[in-house]
Amino acid sequence: MIKPFSRSKRALHPWPKPPGGPHYSVCHFCDTLHESEPVPEGTAARCKRCGALLYQNRPASLVRATAFSMTSLILMGVVHYFPFLIMDADGGFRATLNLTSAARALFEEGSPILAVGLALFTIIAPISMAAGLIYVCGPLMFGRVAPGAFFVAKWLNKTEPWNMVEVFLLGVLVSLLKLAKVAEVHFGAGFWAFGLLMFCMAAAIASIDRDELWDRLEVAKS
């Protein structure tokens, strides 16, 4: 159900807290101890000392995280089959760039470590983030915990900084401009799909707060 967005009447929809309490929240930045109180949907609790973000209450968090992750995975499939860049050089040469071709080329040209890094940052990290979010949030919508969900949720945190979809996109742009003087280069459908993927990934990650995800996991398990 889509609720109309109104700033004046923000519903206080707290996520379920595990039994017991009081619940605390510690600022990861300055170590200030706060008693965690539910905040209205769409707002955030901030540290009283340093102003850093403590936790947020995102509207429709589980549904949004799952939906955006699914879209990301579908787009990943689309990206795989369409080129990012198409280059037409003199003499009828035509070269296309796919998601995997950069990593493959580096591997073949004698830089296997770089190739693995590139594949990790641009293919494996985004896919595992999206798949992990679906695996954890999907069953949670129905109050269930998938087997091994705690382990997956733990790894979601660790994978996040290594997801470099947006950096790769800027890299494609710079390469296009770099090659523009030697050959005719234009964007393929893969580029636009990857751009969409960037927004969907960001939306999926931003849809659910870490504290909420873990509180829900704990509640569903008990």
Binding site: V26, K48, K181
Partner: protein, 217 residues
């Protein structure tokens, strides 16, 4: 400040790094997610300094060694990151030159400087100023990844430009070294514990009385 705000460390409580649950540190392991509990990241400063020094040492070869070699009609031309940027500048592509300058030269350098500053402040060699420190730490955590852009460009160019005898591009040794710099600075930023700065502030009695600008709570 009327009442000093309570800090978790004084109550023997630790917030889990993975799941955020607050538990007594004597439990050693987070009861919710099973991660190791600690008041402060272990050997935070020495780890950060070690990783940062390694990154600083690699930064020199990363800028001297060529990141890619262009073979055009038999002419072999190896370019470093700086040369690549200068070429963009000369051909009038100022925005890209600036992007490469910021991502590949400025960010790693600034990150190394910022991390050393944070380490000095946290170990008490410098007087920290709280408003700056927050921004510096935010910068090191968020911007480091953008330095990877040059490595991605090398990968893309190598993949696209394989035109037989006419023109080929191969990755140079500088690319791997540069990727090493980026990954090391990322790990260095991750191993730094910003709470140490506030420990230092508290010890000096400099607890910032400034409330946050916009509190939504």
């Amino acid at each position: 400040m009327r009442h000093p705000l309570p800090r978790a460390v004084h109550h023997g409580l630790a917030g889990c790094h993975t799941c955020g649950k607050v538990s007594p540190v004597v439990e050693r392991v987070c009861p919710r997610c099973g991660s190791h509990l600690h008041l402060r990241k272990a050997h935070s400063i020495s780890r950060t300094v070690a990783l940062m020094l390694a990154a600083a040492a690699l930064y020199i070869p990363a800028n001297i060694l060529p990141v890619m070699t262009v073979t055009e009609l038999g002419d072999v031309d190896a370019t470093t990151i700086t040369q690549g940027m200068i070429r963009f500048w000369r051909t009038g592509a100022y925005p890209i030159a600036l992007v490469i300058f910021t991502a590949s030269i400025m960010i790693p350098l600034l990150k190394i400087v910022a991390l050393s500053w944070l380490c000095l402040a946290a170990s008490g060699k410098l007087h920290p100023s709280p408003s700056m420190l927050g921004r510096v730490y935010w910068f090191t955590e968020l911007l480091g990844r953008w330095s990877m852009i040059d490595i991605f460009v090398v990968g893309i160019l190598v993949a696209l430009v394989q035109l037989g005898n006419y023109m080929t591009i191969t990755p140079g040794p500088g690319a791997l070294v540069f990727a090493g710099v980026v990954v090391l600075t990322m790990f260095a930023a991750m191993s730094f514990d910003p709470r140490l700065l506030w420990d230092r502030l508290e010890m000096l009695g400099l607890d910032p009385p400034s409330p946050p600008k916009s509190s939504d709570t």
